[in-house]
Protein backbone atom coordinates (compact mmCIF):
# COMPACT_ATOMS: atom_id res chain seq x y z
CA UNK A 1 0.00 0.00 0.00
CA UNK A 2 1.21 3.50 -0.71
CA UNK A 3 0.29 6.63 1.13
CA UNK A 4 -0.04 8.57 -2.12
CA UNK A 5 -3.84 8.32 -2.20
CA UNK A 6 -4.46 9.58 1.30
CA UNK A 7 -1.85 12.28 0.78
CA UNK A 8 -3.44 13.67 -2.35
CA UNK A 9 -6.90 13.50 -0.79
CA UNK A 10 -5.69 15.53 2.15
CA UNK A 11 -4.06 18.04 -0.15
CA UNK A 12 -7.29 18.37 -2.11
CA UNK A 13 -9.27 18.76 1.09
CA UNK A 14 -6.95 21.43 2.34
CA UNK A 15 -7.29 23.35 -0.89
CA UNK A 16 -11.06 23.35 -0.50
CA UNK A 17 -10.65 24.57 3.03
CA UNK A 18 -12.14 21.39 4.49
CA UNK A 19 -10.08 19.86 7.31
CA UNK A 20 -8.72 16.45 6.47
CA UNK A 21 -10.94 13.86 8.12
CA UNK A 22 -9.76 11.21 10.56
CA UNK A 23 -6.03 11.75 10.13
CA UNK A 24 -4.79 14.93 11.80
CA UNK A 25 -1.72 16.13 9.92
CA UNK A 26 1.13 17.01 12.21
CA UNK A 27 3.22 17.95 9.21
CA UNK A 28 1.83 18.89 5.82
CA UNK A 29 3.64 20.30 2.80
CA UNK A 30 1.60 21.50 -0.17
CA UNK A 31 3.48 22.09 -3.42
CA UNK A 32 6.51 23.40 -1.59
CA UNK A 33 9.33 24.84 -3.68
CA UNK A 34 12.49 26.30 -2.23
CA UNK A 35 14.94 28.17 -4.42
CA UNK A 36 18.16 29.49 -2.87
CA UNK A 37 19.93 30.83 -5.96
CA UNK A 38 17.95 31.58 -9.13
CA UNK A 39 17.69 28.55 -11.37
CA UNK A 40 18.70 26.06 -8.70
CA UNK A 41 15.78 24.67 -6.76
CA UNK A 42 16.59 22.76 -3.57
CA UNK A 43 13.01 21.48 -3.42
CA UNK A 44 10.46 21.37 -6.23
CA UNK A 45 6.71 20.99 -5.73
CA UNK A 46 7.04 18.75 -2.70
CA UNK A 47 3.85 17.31 -1.24
CA UNK A 48 4.11 15.50 2.06
CA UNK A 49 1.50 14.57 4.59
CA UNK A 50 2.47 13.09 7.95
CA UNK A 51 -0.41 12.12 10.25
CA UNK A 52 -0.01 12.31 14.00
CA UNK A 53 1.80 9.32 15.46
CA UNK A 54 3.56 8.36 12.23
CA UNK A 55 7.19 7.25 11.97
CA UNK A 56 8.78 8.42 8.72
CA UNK A 57 12.23 7.92 7.27
CA UNK A 58 13.46 10.63 4.95
CA UNK A 59 16.10 9.23 2.61
CA UNK A 60 18.04 10.40 -0.40
CA UNK A 61 21.57 11.22 -1.49
CA UNK A 62 23.42 14.24 -0.17
CA UNK A 63 22.11 17.38 -1.80
CA UNK A 64 18.70 15.85 -2.46
CA UNK A 65 17.02 18.43 -0.23
CA UNK A 66 16.67 16.60 3.10
CA UNK A 67 18.31 19.32 5.12
CA UNK A 68 16.35 22.03 3.31
CA UNK A 69 13.14 20.18 4.10
CA UNK A 70 14.08 20.02 7.78
CA UNK A 71 15.00 23.70 7.83
CA UNK A 72 11.56 24.48 6.43
CA UNK A 73 9.90 22.39 9.13
CA UNK A 74 11.63 24.21 11.99
CA UNK A 75 11.12 27.52 10.18
CA UNK A 76 14.78 28.16 9.79
CA UNK A 77 13.84 28.94 6.19
CA UNK A 78 10.61 29.91 4.51
CA UNK A 79 9.49 28.24 1.27
CA UNK A 80 9.76 30.19 -1.96
CA UNK A 81 6.26 28.98 -2.79
CA UNK A 82 3.81 26.49 -1.37
CA UNK A 83 2.60 25.92 2.14
CA UNK A 84 4.24 24.29 5.16
CA UNK A 85 1.99 23.34 8.06
CA UNK A 86 3.41 22.06 11.34
CA UNK A 87 1.27 21.27 14.39
CA UNK A 88 -1.68 23.02 12.78
CA UNK A 89 0.17 26.26 11.99
CA UNK A 90 0.95 27.66 8.58
CA UNK A 91 4.61 28.52 9.08
CA UNK A 92 4.52 31.39 6.58
CA UNK A 93 2.02 33.08 8.87
CA UNK A 94 3.96 32.52 12.08
CA UNK A 95 5.44 35.85 13.09
CA UNK A 96 9.11 36.09 14.04
CA UNK A 97 8.38 36.41 17.73
CA UNK A 98 6.12 33.34 17.68
CA UNK A 99 8.80 31.11 16.19
CA UNK A 100 10.18 30.14 19.64
CA UNK A 101 6.76 28.84 20.68
CA UNK A 102 6.57 26.80 17.48
CA UNK A 103 10.02 25.33 18.11
CA UNK A 104 8.87 24.04 21.48
CA UNK A 105 6.32 21.89 19.66
CA UNK A 106 9.03 20.46 17.43
CA UNK A 107 11.91 18.57 19.02
CA UNK A 108 15.10 18.53 16.97
CA UNK A 109 17.97 16.06 17.05
CA UNK A 110 21.12 16.47 14.98
CA UNK A 111 24.07 14.42 13.88
CA UNK A 112 26.47 16.53 15.97
CA UNK A 113 24.26 16.41 19.12
CA UNK A 114 24.63 20.15 19.74
CA UNK A 115 25.20 19.84 23.47
CA UNK A 116 26.78 22.55 25.61
CA UNK A 117 30.20 21.18 26.60
CA UNK A 118 30.37 22.93 29.97
CA UNK A 119 27.00 21.74 31.23
CA UNK A 120 26.34 18.22 32.46
CA UNK A 121 23.60 15.95 31.13
CA UNK A 122 20.99 17.20 33.56
CA UNK A 123 21.86 20.86 32.94
CA UNK A 124 21.83 20.41 29.18
CA UNK A 125 18.29 19.07 29.31
CA UNK A 126 17.14 21.56 31.94
CA UNK A 127 18.62 24.36 29.83
CA UNK A 128 15.90 23.86 27.20
CA UNK A 129 13.29 24.60 29.87
CA UNK A 130 15.21 27.42 31.57
CA UNK A 131 15.58 29.42 28.38
CA UNK A 132 11.86 29.26 27.82
CA UNK A 133 11.09 30.68 31.26
CA UNK A 134 9.79 27.48 32.86
CA UNK A 135 9.46 27.71 36.65
CA UNK A 136 12.06 25.78 38.61
CA UNK A 137 9.59 23.49 40.34
CA UNK A 138 8.45 22.16 36.96
CA UNK A 139 11.95 21.72 35.55
CA UNK A 140 13.24 19.04 37.93
CA UNK A 141 10.46 16.44 37.51
CA UNK A 142 10.31 17.07 33.76
CA UNK A 143 14.05 16.55 33.29
CA UNK A 144 14.06 13.45 35.50
CA UNK A 145 11.19 12.00 33.49
CA UNK A 146 12.91 12.36 30.11
CA UNK A 147 16.25 11.18 31.47
CA UNK A 148 14.48 8.04 32.62
CA UNK A 149 12.97 7.58 29.15
CA UNK A 150 16.37 7.74 27.46
CA UNK A 151 18.03 5.76 30.24
CA UNK A 152 20.50 8.37 31.44
CA UNK A 153 19.31 8.86 35.02
CA UNK A 154 22.62 7.58 36.35
CA UNK A 155 24.72 9.74 34.02
CA UNK A 156 22.95 12.98 34.94
CA UNK A 157 26.02 14.56 36.51
CA UNK A 158 28.41 13.76 33.67
CA UNK A 159 29.71 16.24 31.14
CA UNK A 160 29.26 15.53 27.42
CA UNK A 161 32.99 14.91 27.01
CA UNK A 162 32.74 12.05 29.51
CA UNK A 163 29.97 10.36 27.52
CA UNK A 164 30.01 8.01 24.54
CA UNK A 165 28.53 9.21 21.26
CA UNK A 166 25.40 7.18 21.88
CA UNK A 167 24.93 8.68 25.33
CA UNK A 168 25.46 12.17 23.95
CA UNK A 169 22.80 11.56 21.33
CA UNK A 170 20.45 10.22 24.00
CA UNK A 171 21.05 13.41 25.97
CA UNK A 172 20.10 15.40 22.87
CA UNK A 173 16.97 13.27 22.45
CA UNK A 174 16.06 13.85 26.10
CA UNK A 175 16.44 17.58 25.51
CA UNK A 176 14.24 17.37 22.41
CA UNK A 177 11.61 15.50 24.44
CA UNK A 178 11.52 17.75 27.46
CA UNK A 179 9.07 20.23 25.95
CA UNK A 180 6.77 17.27 25.20
CA UNK A 181 6.78 18.09 21.50
CA UNK A 182 4.22 16.73 19.09
CA UNK A 183 6.89 15.82 16.59
CA UNK A 184 10.56 14.98 16.71
CA UNK A 185 12.68 15.82 13.71
CA UNK A 186 15.98 13.99 13.63
CA UNK A 187 18.60 14.92 11.04
CA UNK A 188 21.03 12.01 10.62
CA UNK A 189 20.93 11.19 14.34
CA UNK A 190 23.01 8.04 13.81
CA UNK A 191 25.46 9.56 11.34
CA UNK A 192 28.36 9.64 13.81
CA UNK A 193 27.60 6.36 15.59
CA UNK A 194 28.71 2.81 14.99
CA UNK A 195 26.01 0.35 13.86
CA UNK A 196 25.28 -1.16 17.25
CA UNK A 197 24.85 2.21 18.98
CA UNK A 198 22.91 3.45 15.97
CA UNK A 199 20.44 0.64 16.57
CA UNK A 200 20.06 1.69 20.18
CA UNK A 201 19.20 5.21 19.11
CA UNK A 202 16.68 3.94 16.56
CA UNK A 203 15.10 1.69 19.21
CA UNK A 204 14.81 4.72 21.46
CA UNK A 205 13.14 6.79 18.74
CA UNK A 206 10.75 3.90 18.03
CA UNK A 207 9.82 3.77 21.71
CA UNK A 208 9.23 7.50 21.80
CA UNK A 209 7.05 7.07 18.72
CA UNK A 210 5.08 4.35 20.49
CA UNK A 211 4.49 6.78 23.35
CA UNK A 212 2.65 8.96 20.82
CA UNK A 213 5.21 11.38 19.39
CA UNK A 214 5.46 11.67 15.64
CA UNK A 215 9.02 11.06 14.38
CA UNK A 216 10.57 12.21 11.14
CA UNK A 217 14.10 10.94 10.70
CA UNK A 218 16.45 11.81 7.87
CA UNK A 219 19.06 9.12 7.46
CA UNK A 220 21.64 7.43 5.27
CA UNK A 221 21.46 4.25 7.29
CA UNK A 222 20.18 1.81 4.66
CA UNK A 223 20.20 -1.25 6.93
CA UNK A 224 17.97 0.35 9.51
CA UNK A 225 15.50 1.72 6.98
CA UNK A 226 15.23 -1.54 5.09
CA UNK A 227 14.94 -3.67 8.22
CA UNK A 228 12.23 -1.65 9.90
CA UNK A 229 9.80 -1.45 6.96
CA UNK A 230 8.40 1.88 8.13
CA UNK A 231 7.14 4.64 5.86
CA UNK A 232 9.94 5.87 3.60
CA UNK A 233 9.98 9.19 1.76
CA UNK A 234 12.76 9.38 -0.80
CA UNK A 235 14.03 12.70 -2.11
CA UNK A 236 16.12 13.08 -5.22
CA UNK A 237 17.13 16.38 -6.74
CA UNK A 238 14.49 18.17 -4.73
CA UNK A 239 11.63 15.93 -5.82
CA UNK A 240 9.79 13.29 -3.82
CA UNK A 241 10.53 10.24 -5.95
CA UNK A 242 9.01 7.65 -3.64
CA UNK A 243 6.67 7.64 -0.65
CA UNK A 244 5.69 4.20 0.55
CA UNK A 245 4.85 2.46 3.78
CA UNK A 246 7.04 -0.57 4.47
CA UNK A 247 9.65 0.71 2.03
CA UNK A 248 13.33 -0.10 1.79
CA UNK A 249 16.20 2.34 1.65
CA UNK A 250 16.77 1.67 -2.05
CA UNK A 251 14.06 1.48 -4.65
CA UNK A 252 12.83 -2.09 -4.94
CA UNK A 253 11.31 -3.39 -8.11
CA UNK A 254 8.70 -6.04 -7.90
Amino acid sequence: MTIATSSSTAAAAAEEGVPAPALTPIVALHAVTKVYAPGRAALTEVNLFIPEGDFVFLVGPSGAGKTTLIKLLIRDELPTSGQVIVAGQDLARVKGRDVPRLRRKVGTVFQDYKLLPNKDVYENVAFALEVTGTPGRIIRPAVERVLAIVGLTLAAKQLPAQLSGGEQQRTAIARALVHEPKVIIADEPTGNLDPLIAWEIIQLLLRINELGTTVLMATHNADVVTALRKRVVALEDGHVVRDEVGGAYHREYW
Binding site: P100, R103, L116, F127, E130, T132, G133
Partner: protein
Protein backbone atom coordinates in the same frame (compact mmCIF):
# COMPACT_ATOMS: atom_id res chain seq x y z
CA UNK B 1 9.54 38.88 34.81
CA UNK B 2 11.55 38.47 37.99
CA UNK B 3 12.41 34.94 36.98
CA UNK B 4 13.50 36.27 33.61
CA UNK B 5 15.75 38.89 35.21
CA UNK B 6 17.21 36.36 37.63
CA UNK B 7 17.79 33.94 34.80
CA UNK B 8 19.47 36.62 32.68
CA UNK B 9 21.69 37.80 35.54
CA UNK B 10 22.65 34.25 36.43
CA UNK B 11 23.45 33.42 32.82
CA UNK B 12 25.43 36.65 32.45
CA UNK B 13 27.46 35.83 35.54
CA UNK B 14 28.03 32.25 34.32
CA UNK B 15 28.95 33.49 30.88
CA UNK B 16 31.50 35.90 32.31
CA UNK B 17 33.29 33.23 34.36
CA UNK B 18 33.02 30.33 31.92
CA UNK B 19 34.76 32.43 29.32
CA UNK B 20 37.09 34.16 31.72
CA UNK B 21 39.95 34.74 29.26
CA UNK B 22 37.62 36.30 26.73
CA UNK B 23 35.90 38.33 29.44
CA UNK B 24 39.17 39.66 30.81
CA UNK B 25 40.37 40.53 27.32
CA UNK B 26 37.17 42.47 26.75
CA UNK B 27 37.49 44.18 30.13
CA UNK B 28 41.13 45.11 29.49
CA UNK B 29 40.23 46.58 26.11
CA UNK B 30 37.41 48.45 27.77
CA UNK B 31 39.77 49.88 30.42
CA UNK B 32 42.35 51.02 27.85
CA UNK B 33 39.71 52.62 25.68
CA UNK B 34 37.99 54.34 28.59
CA UNK B 35 41.36 55.64 29.81
CA UNK B 36 42.05 57.06 26.38
CA UNK B 37 38.62 58.65 26.29
CA UNK B 38 38.87 60.02 29.82
CA UNK B 39 42.38 61.40 29.30
CA UNK B 40 41.40 63.16 26.15
CA UNK B 41 38.24 64.46 27.76
CA UNK B 42 40.27 66.00 30.59
CA UNK B 43 42.68 67.68 28.16
CA UNK B 44 39.87 69.03 25.97
CA UNK B 45 37.92 70.30 28.99
CA UNK B 46 41.06 72.03 30.26
CA UNK B 47 41.66 73.52 26.85
CA UNK B 48 38.10 74.84 26.67
CA UNK B 49 38.30 76.31 30.17
CA UNK B 50 41.51 78.08 29.18
CA UNK B 51 39.94 79.43 26.02
CA UNK B 52 36.91 80.64 27.97
CA UNK B 53 39.25 82.55 30.25
CA UNK B 54 40.97 84.32 27.37
CA UNK B 55 37.67 85.17 25.78
CA UNK B 56 36.34 86.61 29.03
CA UNK B 57 39.23 89.10 28.93
CA UNK B 58 37.82 90.81 25.84
CA UNK B 59 36.37 94.21 26.69
CA UNK B 60 35.13 97.28 24.91
CA UNK B 61 36.55 100.63 25.98
CA UNK B 62 34.83 103.87 25.03
CA UNK B 63 36.38 107.29 25.78
CA UNK B 64 33.93 109.77 27.20
CA UNK B 65 33.82 113.42 26.06
CA UNK B 66 35.07 115.76 28.75
CA UNK B 67 31.88 117.79 28.85
CA UNK B 68 29.41 114.89 29.01
CA UNK B 69 26.89 115.08 31.83
CA UNK B 70 26.91 112.42 34.51
CA UNK B 71 23.20 111.69 33.83
CA UNK B 72 23.82 110.98 30.15
CA UNK B 73 26.79 108.78 30.98
CA UNK B 74 24.63 106.72 33.36
CA UNK B 75 21.94 106.46 30.68
CA UNK B 76 24.42 105.08 28.14
CA UNK B 77 25.86 102.67 30.68
CA UNK B 78 22.39 101.37 31.54
CA UNK B 79 21.64 100.93 27.86
CA UNK B 80 24.78 98.86 27.33
CA UNK B 81 24.19 96.91 30.51
CA UNK B 82 20.80 95.83 29.17
CA UNK B 83 22.34 94.28 26.07
CA UNK B 84 22.69 90.48 25.89
CA UNK B 85 26.06 88.89 26.73
CA UNK B 86 27.32 91.98 28.55
CA UNK B 87 28.92 90.84 31.79
CA UNK B 88 29.57 94.22 33.39
CA UNK B 89 29.86 97.94 32.73
CA UNK B 90 32.20 100.16 34.68
CA UNK B 91 32.94 103.87 34.60
CA UNK B 92 36.54 104.98 34.89
CA UNK B 93 36.80 108.66 35.86
CA UNK B 94 39.55 110.96 34.61
CA UNK B 95 41.39 110.84 37.96
CA UNK B 96 41.28 107.08 38.00
CA UNK B 97 42.53 106.93 34.44
CA UNK B 98 45.60 109.00 35.16
CA UNK B 99 46.18 107.02 38.33
CA UNK B 100 46.22 103.82 36.30
CA UNK B 101 48.52 105.36 33.73
CA UNK B 102 50.98 106.35 36.42
CA UNK B 103 50.94 102.88 37.97
CA UNK B 104 51.43 101.34 34.55
CA UNK B 105 54.43 103.53 33.82
CA UNK B 106 55.88 102.96 37.27
CA UNK B 107 55.56 99.22 36.76
CA UNK B 108 57.47 99.53 33.51
CA UNK B 109 60.11 101.67 35.22
CA UNK B 110 59.50 104.72 33.07
CA UNK B 111 59.65 108.26 34.28
CA UNK B 112 56.29 109.73 35.03
CA UNK B 113 55.86 112.91 33.03
CA UNK B 114 52.19 113.55 33.75
CA UNK B 115 53.08 115.67 36.77
CA UNK B 116 54.47 118.37 34.55
CA UNK B 117 51.23 118.77 32.64
CA UNK B 118 48.94 121.55 33.86
CA UNK B 119 45.81 119.49 33.23
CA UNK B 120 44.77 115.87 33.04
CA UNK B 121 44.98 114.82 29.35
CA UNK B 122 43.32 111.42 29.82
CA UNK B 123 39.62 111.05 29.11
CA UNK B 124 37.18 109.23 31.37
CA UNK B 125 36.03 105.94 29.90
CA UNK B 126 33.29 103.33 29.96
CA UNK B 127 34.61 99.78 30.15
CA UNK B 128 32.36 96.95 29.11
CA UNK B 129 33.14 93.32 30.01
CA UNK B 130 31.73 90.84 27.52
CA UNK B 131 30.42 87.41 28.35
CA UNK B 132 30.77 86.47 24.69
CA UNK B 133 33.27 88.29 22.46
CA UNK B 134 30.94 87.75 19.49
CA UNK B 135 28.88 90.80 20.54
CA UNK B 136 31.95 93.02 20.43
CA UNK B 137 30.94 94.88 17.23
CA UNK B 138 27.38 95.36 18.45
CA UNK B 139 28.43 96.90 21.74
CA UNK B 140 31.09 99.03 20.09
CA UNK B 141 28.57 100.41 17.57
CA UNK B 142 25.98 101.13 20.21
CA UNK B 143 28.56 103.17 22.11
CA UNK B 144 29.74 104.98 18.96
CA UNK B 145 26.17 106.06 18.22
CA UNK B 146 26.00 108.00 21.49
CA UNK B 147 28.03 110.89 19.99
CA UNK B 148 27.17 113.39 22.68
CA UNK B 149 28.77 111.13 25.33
CA UNK B 150 31.29 108.95 23.55
CA UNK B 151 34.24 110.55 21.84
CA UNK B 152 35.47 107.35 20.31
CA UNK B 153 35.70 103.60 20.86
CA UNK B 154 39.04 101.82 21.06
CA UNK B 155 39.13 99.94 17.80
CA UNK B 156 40.47 96.41 18.34
CA UNK B 157 37.87 94.41 16.46
CA UNK B 158 40.62 92.81 14.41
CA UNK B 159 42.38 91.60 17.56
CA UNK B 160 39.10 90.20 18.83
CA UNK B 161 38.50 88.49 15.52
CA UNK B 162 41.94 86.94 15.57
CA UNK B 163 41.39 85.69 19.09
CA UNK B 164 38.02 84.25 18.17
CA UNK B 165 39.48 82.50 15.14
CA UNK B 166 42.18 80.92 17.25
CA UNK B 167 39.91 79.85 20.10
CA UNK B 168 37.21 78.53 17.77
CA UNK B 169 39.73 76.55 15.76
CA UNK B 170 41.18 75.05 18.91
CA UNK B 171 37.72 74.21 20.25
CA UNK B 172 36.73 72.60 16.96
CA UNK B 173 40.03 70.73 16.84
CA UNK B 174 39.50 69.42 20.37
CA UNK B 175 35.96 68.33 19.57
CA UNK B 176 36.96 66.65 16.31
CA UNK B 177 39.79 64.72 17.96
CA UNK B 178 37.50 63.74 20.81
CA UNK B 179 34.86 62.62 18.29
CA UNK B 180 37.35 60.59 16.25
CA UNK B 181 38.76 58.91 19.32
CA UNK B 182 35.20 58.29 20.53
CA UNK B 183 34.30 56.53 17.28
CA UNK B 184 37.51 54.48 17.41
CA UNK B 185 36.80 53.46 20.98
CA UNK B 186 33.23 52.57 20.02
CA UNK B 187 34.30 50.22 17.23
CA UNK B 188 37.18 48.62 19.09
CA UNK B 189 35.05 47.85 22.15
CA UNK B 190 32.14 46.57 20.07
CA UNK B 191 34.46 44.35 18.07
CA UNK B 192 36.02 42.89 21.20
CA UNK B 193 32.63 42.11 22.66
CA UNK B 194 31.58 40.69 19.32
CA UNK B 195 34.46 38.21 19.55
CA UNK B 196 33.22 37.08 22.95
CA UNK B 197 29.75 36.57 21.52
CA UNK B 198 31.00 34.78 18.40
CA UNK B 199 32.85 32.34 20.65
CA UNK B 200 29.43 31.34 21.92
CA UNK B 201 27.58 31.14 18.61
CA UNK B 202 26.88 27.46 19.30
CA UNK B 203 25.17 28.28 22.55
CA UNK B 204 22.96 30.81 20.78
CA UNK B 205 22.16 28.27 18.06
CA UNK B 206 21.13 25.70 20.67
CA UNK B 207 19.01 28.22 22.52
CA UNK B 208 17.19 29.04 19.31
CA UNK B 209 16.66 25.36 18.50
CA UNK B 210 15.08 24.56 21.83
CA UNK B 211 12.68 27.45 21.44
CA UNK B 212 14.19 30.21 23.57
CA UNK B 213 12.57 33.53 22.81
CA UNK B 214 14.85 36.30 21.55
CA UNK B 215 14.70 38.12 24.88
CA UNK B 216 16.01 35.06 26.73
CA UNK B 217 18.90 34.82 24.31
CA UNK B 218 19.68 38.52 24.11
CA UNK B 219 19.49 39.83 27.65
CA UNK B 220 22.01 37.54 29.34
CA UNK B 221 24.55 38.75 26.78
CA UNK B 222 23.54 42.38 27.23
CA UNK B 223 23.83 42.06 31.01
CA UNK B 224 27.21 40.43 30.59
CA UNK B 225 28.30 43.31 28.35
CA UNK B 226 27.06 45.84 30.89
CA UNK B 227 28.92 43.94 33.59
CA UNK B 228 32.14 44.06 31.56
CA UNK B 229 31.52 47.78 30.96
CA UNK B 230 30.95 48.50 34.64
CA UNK B 231 34.01 46.53 35.67
CA UNK B 232 36.06 48.36 33.06
CA UNK B 233 34.71 51.72 34.25
CA UNK B 234 35.52 50.96 37.90
CA UNK B 235 39.09 49.91 37.04
CA UNK B 236 39.48 53.01 34.85
CA UNK B 237 38.25 55.32 37.60
CA UNK B 238 40.58 53.64 40.08
CA UNK B 239 43.53 54.31 37.78
CA UNK B 240 42.38 57.91 37.25
CA UNK B 241 42.16 58.55 40.99
CA UNK B 242 45.69 57.20 41.39
CA UNK B 243 46.84 59.46 38.58
CA UNK B 244 44.84 62.45 39.78
CA UNK B 245 47.56 64.24 41.75
CA UNK B 246 50.35 64.20 39.15
CA UNK B 247 47.81 64.73 36.39
CA UNK B 248 46.24 67.84 37.90
CA UNK B 249 49.69 69.32 38.47
CA UNK B 250 50.45 68.87 34.78
CA UNK B 251 47.07 70.33 33.86
CA UNK B 252 47.57 73.48 35.95
CA UNK B 253 51.07 73.89 34.59
CA UNK B 254 49.74 73.51 31.07
CA UNK B 255 46.77 75.84 31.40
CA UNK B 256 47.81 78.40 34.00
CA UNK B 257 44.51 80.20 33.97
CA UNK B 258 42.30 77.30 35.07
CA UNK B 259 39.70 78.13 37.72
CA UNK B 260 40.57 76.66 41.12
CA UNK B 261 37.63 74.26 41.35
CA UNK B 262 38.35 72.91 37.88
CA UNK B 263 39.69 69.63 39.31
CA UNK B 264 36.56 68.44 41.04
CA UNK B 265 34.28 69.45 38.18
CA UNK B 266 36.35 67.49 35.73
CA UNK B 267 36.60 64.48 38.00
CA UNK B 268 32.84 64.35 38.46
CA UNK B 269 32.14 64.78 34.76
CA UNK B 270 34.79 62.28 33.74
CA UNK B 271 33.50 59.73 36.26
CA UNK B 272 30.01 60.12 34.80
CA UNK B 273 31.25 59.84 31.22
CA UNK B 274 33.44 56.81 31.98
CA UNK B 275 30.66 54.87 33.73
CA UNK B 276 28.06 55.85 31.14
CA UNK B 277 30.37 55.03 28.23
CA UNK B 278 31.39 51.70 29.78
CA UNK B 279 27.83 50.58 30.42
CA UNK B 280 26.53 51.86 27.09
CA UNK B 281 29.37 50.38 25.05
CA UNK B 282 29.18 47.03 26.85
CA UNK B 283 25.42 46.75 26.59
CA UNK B 284 25.19 48.08 23.06
CA UNK B 285 28.11 45.96 21.88
CA UNK B 286 26.43 42.79 23.12
CA UNK B 287 23.06 43.83 21.79
CA UNK B 288 24.44 44.48 18.31
CA UNK B 289 26.55 41.31 18.33
CA UNK B 290 23.71 39.01 19.37
CA UNK B 291 21.34 40.69 16.96
CA UNK B 292 23.05 39.22 13.92
CA UNK B 293 22.41 35.73 15.31
CA UNK B 294 18.78 36.33 16.06
CA UNK B 295 17.90 37.34 12.53
CA UNK B 296 16.63 34.80 10.00
Amino acid sequence: MIRFLLFSMKRAWEGFWRNIVMSLAATATMVLMLLLLAGLLIVVTGLNAGLDYFESKVEVTAFVRDGASQARISEVMDKVRAMPDVAGVAFVAKDEAIQRFREYNAARGQTDLTDVLPWNPLPASIEVDLADPLVYAQVANTLKDERDVVENVVENQSVVNALLTVTNTMRLGGTVVLGLVGITVFFIVINTIRLAVVARAREIEIMRLVGASDAFIRWPFVFEGIFVGLLGAVVTLGLLVLAYEPLSRVMFALFEVLPLRFGEFVLRDVALVVVAAGVALGGLGSYVSVRSYLRG
